[in-house]
C-alpha cells in the first residue's frame, strides 16, 4: 500500500480539526481564575479531586452564581461572593472551578 497525497491530507485535516477543537474548548472554558474584578459567572463544573470539600460546603456548587469582588496583587488570592458566601481562595484552587461568564453581570 502506498501512502498517497490524499492520505497525508486526511491526517493533516484530522490534526487541524483536533487543534481547532482544543482551541475552541479553551476559548469556551473559563475557570474562576479568569474572572476579572466586578465580573459575574455561573459555576459549571468542579474537579472533585482538586477542590476541597470545604469550598463546596460554603456554597461553591454547580449552578450557583459567583462574583469577583476583589483581587489581591498578582490576582492572588481572590475575594469572591459565591451564592451569598463571601470568601477568599487562592488561584491554585480557583483554576479547578469551571465557570460560564455572565455578560455585564
Amino acid at each position: 500500500m502506498t501512502i498517497s497525497l490524499r492520505h497525508i491530507f486526511l491526517v493533516l485535516q484530522i490534526i487541524l480539526f483536533l487543534i481547532l477543537r482544543m482551541n475552541l474548548n479553551k476559548r469556551v472554558e473559563f475557570s474562576l481564575a479568569d474572572l476579572k474584578k466586578g465580573e459575574k459567572a455561573i459555576i459549571k463544573e468542579i474537579s472533585s479531586d482538586k477542590v476541597p470539600l470545604k469550598l463546596l460546603e460554603m456554597g461553591c456548587l454547580p449552578g450557583n452564581e459567583v462574583e469577583m469582588l476583589q483581587l489581591a496583587p498578582f490576582k492572588d488570592p481572590m475575594y469572591l461572593n459565591i451564592n451569598g458566601s463571601h470568601l477568599a481562595i487562592r488561584q491554585e484552587t480557583a483554576k479547578f472551578v469551571i465557570i460560564e461568564k455572565l455578560v455585564n453581570g
Binding site: 476583589q70 481562595i89 487562592r90
Partner: protein, 698 residues
C-alpha cells in the same frame, strides 16, 4: 429534678456563637482544654426558669461535620459518642441571618444524627436592614425544629431560647434527609450489615479520621466498609453536600424572601478601601504602628506600678516575717517570680484587646487576604500573619493561634519561626543593653537608641521570614494545600465579648506560663542561695578578712559578701564552668549565669544581673551604672562595650530562651522533635552570630 440539661452550641465561625454563649452563661463560665489536646473547651452554667440549670458547652466553630482540623474533630467526636458525659440532650445550631442557607448545611447534618436541634437565628436585628423576611412557622415545619430569632447585640430572643431549652423534650428527632439518597446501593449494604445503627452515623464513622469513643471502636467490621477509595468517598461527600443544598434551597424558596432593593451594603464600601491594592496595605501598616505604639506607651504606666509594688512587697515581707531561709525564699524567690509574671499582664491584655477587636470586627480576614501571596513566597500562609503579630507580645498565644492554618506544612513552619519575632520578654534586655552601649545622639531627628531598637524588631521579623523560606525548601512534607477563608461581615465589636476574651486569655497566660516561670524562679533561688564547700559557707569570714584593710561601709561589705556567695553558689559554679565557651562572645561568667537563668524566660536576664551585681533594689539606673562599671577581667576596659553589647543583643534576638514556648510547641506538634530542633538550631545560630559580631567589632 436535679439533673442538668446538657446543651451544645454548634455553628459556623462568625455567627456570633460566642456572643450567644456569653449571653446564656454570663460570667458563669470556665475555659479549659479537652483532654490531651490544646483545643479550648468553653463551658458554663445557664440558669433557667423553675430552678432548672443547663450545662452549656460552646463547641469550636465548624462549617460542617466533615472535619479538617483538630478543633472541628472535637465536634464530631462528641456528637458520635452517646456515652460522653457532655453528649447533648439538645443541640443549638446558631446561624447568622444573612447566611442562613450555608448554616443550614450543618443543621441538616446534626439533625440526621437524630439529636434534638434548636435553630437559633442570630443577628435578627439586621433583617430589615438586609431586606430579609422569614416564614418561621413554615421553616419550623419543614426543618422539623423550633426556631428562636435572637439578637445578642440588641439582647432580644434570649428568653425564647431559654424556654426552648427547658422544653427540649418536645423537639422532634426526625432527620430532614434520608442519608441513603447519597448512594442507595452502598447504603443498603451498610444498613444490612449494621441493622441497629444509625445510617448517617455509620457514614460519618467511615468518612472521618477521628477518634471515636470506645464503644464505637468495638465494631471492627466497619473497617471492611472503608473499601471505597478516598477519592470515591470524597465524591460521595460532594454528592451529599449537593443533595443537602437541594433540600435547603427548596425549603428556603418559600421560607425566606430577600428583597435586594431594600438591602443596604456597607461591606462593599469598606472592602473597596480595606482590601485595596495600595490603600489596604497602607491602612494595615498604620493600624500595626498604632497597636505597637499603644502597647508600649499605654502599658508602661501599669508596668512600672506593678514593678514597684512587687519590689516593696518583697521588702515588706523581709521586714515583717522572721528572718530565715523561708522568708528569703518568699522574698527573693516567690515574690520576684510572681512579679515576673504579673508585670507582663498589661502588655498581654492590651495585645489581646487589639487582637480581639481586629477579629471581632472582621478586619483580620482582610489582613489574611492581603498578606497571603507575600507570605506564601516564604512558605507561610496569609493566616500566619496573625501569629506573627501576636508573637510580638508573646510566642505562646501566637503559636496557639496557628491552629486555623489548614495546611500542616504552613502551620508547622509558622510554629517553628514565630519565636524569632521580638516578644515583649526581650524588651527589658534590649532596653538596658542599648542604654549601656549605644551612644546617645540623633540622626535626622531619630535617636540612635530608638533606631537600634527598631532594627532589632526588623532583625527578628527578618529571621522569622528567612528561616521560613529555608524550612520551606528543606522540609519534605506533602500536605494538601488549600486555603479557604470566609470574609465575614464588618461588625462593631461587642464590648462584653471583647472584655471576656481579654480576661480569659490573660488568665490562661498567667496560670499557664506563670506556673513554669514561678517554678523556675524558685529553683533559681535555691541554686543561687546554696553552694557546696568552704568558699560558700564561710563567705562572710573570707570577705571580711579580705577587705579588712579597706574602710568599707557596712552596706558595701554586705554587697561584697553576697557577691562572693553567689560566685560560689551552685549557679555560680555552673556559670564559671561555661565561661570558656562564652568568652569568645565577649561575656564573663556572670553574664553566663544570666544566660542560663534566662533560658527559663528571657526577662529573667535583668533580674539575674541585678542580683549578681549586688544591687539590692530593682532600680534600672542603678543596675545600669553597676553594669557600666564592670571591668573585663582579661582585656581590661568596660565589660559591656560596643562589641560585647551588640553580641549580646544579637544572641538574645536569635536564641531560643523560653521554656514555656518549647512546652507549647511540644503540645501543638505532638512531638519532642520540633521543640528540640528549635532549641538546638536557634541557640547554635545565635551563638555563631554573636561570635562573629564580637570578633569583628572588638
Amino acid at each position: 429534678m436535679a439533673k442538668q440539661i446538657n446543651v451544645s452550641l454548634i455553628g459556623n465561625p462568625n455567627t456570633g456563637k460566642t456572643s450567644v454563649f456569653n449571653a446564656l452563661t454570663g460570667l458563669n463560665q470556665k475555659v479549659g482544654n479537652y483532654p490531651g489536646i490544646t483545643v479550648e473547651k468553653k463551658q458554663g452554667i445557664c440558669k433557667l426558669p423553675r430552678g432548672v440549670k443547663a450545662h452549656i458547652l460552646d463547641l469550636p466553630g465548624t462549617y460542617s461535620l466533615n472535619a479538617s482540623s483538630i478543633d472541628e474533630n472535637v465536634v464530631i467526636e462528641l456528637l458520635l459518642n452517646k456515652n460522653d458525659k457532655d453528649f447533648p440532650d439538645v443541640a443549638i445550631v446558631i446561624s447568622d441571618v444573612e447566611n442562613l442557607k450555608r448554616n443550614l448545611l450543618l443543621f441538616t447534618q446534626i439533625k440526621d444524627l437524630e439529636i434534638p436541634v434548636i435553630l437559633a437565628i442570630n443577628m435578627s436585628d439586621r433583617m430589615n436592614y438586609k431586606g430579609i423576611s422569614l416564614d418561621i412557622p413554615y421553616l419550623e415545619e419543614q426543618l422539623q425544629t423550633k426556631i428562636a430569632l435572637i439578637s445578642t447585640r440588641k439582647n432580644t430572643g434570649i428568653e425564647d431560647l431559654k424556654n426552648l431549652i427547658i422544653n427540649h423534650k418536645n423537639i422532634s428527632k426526625t432527620p430532614c434527609l434520608d442519608a441513603s439518597v447519597i448512594d442507595v446501593e452502598y447504603f443498603n449494604r451498610l444498613r444490612n450489615a449494621f441493622p441497629n445503627q444509625l445510617l448517617y452515623k455509620l457514614w460519618l464513622v467511615i468518612t472521618q479520621d477521628v477518634n471515636f469513643g470506645k464503644t464505637e471502636r468495638k465494631e471492627p467490621s466497619i473497617e471492611s466498609f472503608k473499601t471505597k477509595s478516598r477519592s470515591e468517598l470524597k465524591r460521595l461527600q460532594q454528592k451529599e453536600t449537593i443533595k443537602r443544598y437541594q433540600f435547603i434551597n427548596q425549603v428556603l424558596k418559600r421560607g425566606q424572601v430577600i428583597d435586594t432593593s431594600k438591602a443596604r451594603d456597607l461591606r462593599s464600601k469598606f472592602d473597596r478601601v480595606l482590601t485595596h491594592k495600595v490603600w489596604g496595605y497602607v491602612i494595615f501598616g498604620v493600624i500595626l504602628l498604632t497597636i505597637f505604639q499603644a502597647i508600649y506607651d499605654w502599658s508602661s504606666v501599669p508596668m512600672d506600678f506593678i514593678d514597684s509594688t512587687f519590689a516593696s512587697l518583697s521588702e515588706w515581707t523581709k521586714r515583717a516575717l522572721p528572718s530565715g531561709a523561708f522568708t528569703n525564699l518568699i522574698a527573693e524567690g516567690v515574690i520576684p517570680g510572681l512579679g515576673g509574671i504579673v508585670i507582663f499582664i498589661p502588655q498581654i491584655a492590651f495585645l489581646f484587646l487589639f487582637i480581639a477587636i481586629l477579629e471581632e470586627s472582621g478586619y483580620m480576614s482582610r489582613v489574611v487576604f492581603l498578606m497571603d501571596r507575600i507570605m506564601r513566597r516564604f512558605g507561610l500562609s496569609g493566616k500566619s500573619v496573625v501569629p506573627l503579630i501576636s508573637g510580638t507580645a508573646c510566642a505562646i498565644p501566637a503559636i496557639m493561634a496557628t491552629r486555623n492554618i489548614e495546611n500542616w506544612k504552613e502551620r508547622l513552619i509558622t510554629i517553628l519561626v514565630t519565636p524569632f519575632t521580638t516578644c515583649s520578654a526581650r524588651l527589658p534586655v534590649y532596653l538596658i543593653i542599648i542604654a549601656l552601649v549605644i551612644p546617645e545622639g540623633r540622626i535626622v531627628g531619630l535617636s540612635y537608641q530608638a533606631l537600634t531598637l527598631m532594627l532589632l524588631y526588623l532583625i527578628g521579623f527578618g529571621a522569622a521570614v528567612l528561616s521560613a523560606w529555608l524550612l520551606n525548601k528543606i522540609l519534605k512534607i506533602r500536605s494538601k494545600t488549600y486555603f479557604v477563608i470566609e470574609m465575614p461581615n464588618y461588625k462593631l465589636p461587642l464590648l462584653k465579648n471583647v472584655v471576656i476574651t481579654v480576661i480569659e486569655k490573660t488568665k490562661s497566660f498567667v496560670f499557664g506560663a506563670g506556673k513554669i516561670i514561678l517554678a523556675i524562679s524558685i529553683i533559681l533561688w535555691f541554686l543561687a542561695s546554696y553552694g557546696p564547700g568552704e568558699e560558700f559557707n564561710n563567705a562572710e569570714e573570707i570577705v571580711t578578712t579580705e577587705y579588712a584593710s579597706q574602710e568599707l561601709s557596712d552596706e558595701d561589705l554586705q554587697h561584697k559578701i553576697a557577691a562572693h556567695k553567689l560566685e560560689h553558689s551552685f549557679i555560680g559554679i555552673t556559670g564559671r564552668a561555661i565561661e570558656p565557651s562564652i568568652r569568645p562572645l565577649g561575656y564573663d561568667w556572670k553574664i553566663g549565669i544570666a544566660l542560663i537563668s534566662s533560658f527559663a524566660a528571657r526577662e529573667v536576664f535583668v533580674g539575674t544581673l541585678a542580683t549578681i551585681y549586688s544591687v539590692g533594689n530593682d532600680d534600672e539606673d542603678t543596675i545600669k551604672n553597676r553594669m557600666a562599671g564592670e571591668v573585663n577581667p582579661i582585656l581590661g576596659g568596660p565589660l559591656f562595650n560596643f562589641a560585647s553589647g551588640i553580641s549580646l543583643l544579637l544572641f538574645y534576638a536569635f536564641a531560643m530562651q523560653c521554656m514555656s514556648t518549647l512546652a507549647i510547641v511540644k503540645r501543638e506538634t505532638n512531638s519532642w522533635k520540633w521543640p528540640i530542633l528549635q532549641l538546638v538550631i536557634m541557640t547554635a545560630f545565635a551563638y555563631i552570630v554573636a561570635l562573629i559580631a564580637y570578633q569583628f567589632l572588638k
